[in-house]
């Protein structure tokens, strides 16, 4: 650079700055919108979301991908709008309190996690499934959280330290991925409406990828500490977000709590 005249030097730096700005724009586009290998495409180059579900070398469906709930129905109320799930008195009292206070003490208000399955149910916040032979990992964009579903033949731990996302083991029944989850702490809510649970909660999830762009989930709730009998949610639908990536999301600046109202 030393031999450049002042004028040339400024031309070079203008060109360098222009390139930096151009690269900054490209980098953003290449992260949020980039053609990923492995995405089946229609002749016009768009992702073919109705292509068959991909399969692993072992022949199992591959659930890997970035997904989001098709709407907020289930995060609002896992049981379904207008559906009353019978509860034991202690659970019913807690649910009533949460409803009346409009969810003001929901864990997320203090940047604490959603749980299973509601961390997947906020439609505008995607999650990523990474399926490997021995474990399937779920990366939740919200709050940079994760969950591990082990498929190496282990069983659920006995009397584990209670955990926000519990402990998960999975197995295949045909093309359906069946996951058992237990070992929860009581802090999570089953949905934003406030369906409660106790440490006795045992969840069974059944995942089925019907095609490249669609993933279905059936959830069964069994918590003798809160509900007199097990209950199921209606089938939850997730859509694939093709050709994009998750973004970091840490809860760093909570300031809503002081404004939240309720009875």
């Amino acid at each position: 650079m030393a031999f450049l005249t002042g004028a040339k030097r400024s031309q070079v730096s203008i060109a360098a700055m222009a390139m930096l700005f151009a690269m900054a724009g490209t980098a953003r586009a290449q992260w949020l919108s980039l053609p990923l290998p492995g995405t089946p495409r229609t002749p016009d180059g768009k992702p073919n979301l109705t292509a068959p579900a991909p399969r692993t070398p072992e022949g199992k469906p591959d659930l890997s991908g970035i997904w989001h709930a098709e709407d907020n129905r289930f995060v609002d109320n896992l049981a379904g709008e207008g559906v009353d799930i019978p509860m034991l008195p202690s659970a019913a009292a807690l649910y009533k309190h949460r409803q009346e206070t409009l969810g003001a003490d929901k864990p997320q208000v203090r940047c604490l996690p959603h749980g299973v399955p509601d961390a997947m149910l906020v439609s505008m916040i995607p999650f990523k499934i990474v399926q490997t032979p021995r474990e399937t990992i779920v990366l939740y964009e919200e709050f940079n959280q994760y969950r591990q579903i082990f498929t190496d033949g282990r069983t659920l731990p006995q009397d584990p330290n209670p955990a926000w996302f519990g402990y998960s083991v999975g197995k295949w029944e045909g093309d359906t991925f069946v996951v058992d989850v237990a070992g929860f702490k009581e802090g999570t809510w089953l949905d934003n409406g406030g369906h409660p649970h106790t440490e006795a909660l045992h969840i069974t999830e059944r995942y089925h990828r019907s095609n490249f762009g669609s993933l279905d989930l059936d959830v069964a709730i069994n918590d003798p500490g809160a509900y007199p009998k097990p209950w199921k949610a209606a089938t939850i639908h997730f859509k694939l977000l093709p050709d994009t990536e998750l973004l970091e999301h840490l809860c760093e600046n909570e300031r809503d709590a002081e404004h939240l109202l309720g009875k």
């Binding site: 953003r28 098709e70 439609s123 919200e142 809860c251 760093e252 600046n253």
Partner: protein, 130 residues
């Protein structure tokens, strides 16, 4: 490039059609969907932070007094997917915000769209409406 843009638009469309967000607190606990507002003012601060981005603006009342209001939006990630960047607003920008006011009457709102007066560009803020 055309494909990339189409995919990008499709992804944004997906999120917009996905309905109101309930990311981390209930809209109904803080804001009132019956208190729709549309006001113009001058940006004083823009906070590009999780779990919600906020901007603050001076709004001049009919009597000439200036009040500083804060407006909540969704997370930066959701805004990025709607075409925002951390540089979309800066102090001194004159904007018009469409928002819902607070239930407790404080000077805050939940923004659903922002229009920059200088360029006419309208950015959707994907509010919590639930």
């Amino acid at each position: 490039m055309r494909t990339t843009l189409a995919v990008c638009v499709a992804a944004v469309g997906l999120f917009l059609s996905a309905g109101p967000a309930v990311a981390h607190h209930a809209f109904t606990a803080e804001f009132d969907s019956a208190k729709a507002m549309k006001v113009t003012g001058t940006i004083t601060k823009f906070e590009w932070t999780n779990p919600h981005a906020w901007f603050y603006m001076d709004i001049k009342g009919d009597d000439g007094t200036v009040t500083n209001w804060g407006f909540e939006m969704n997370s930066p990630n959701m805004l990025l997917r709607n075409g925002w960047t951390r540089n979309s607003l800066k102090p001194g920008d004159v904007i018009t915000v469409e928002a819902f006011g607070a239930k407790d009457g404080s000077h805050i709102g939940n923004a659903k769209a922002v229009t920059l007066t200088s360029t006419g560009q309208k950015l959707l803020a994907a509010p919590n409406q639930n």
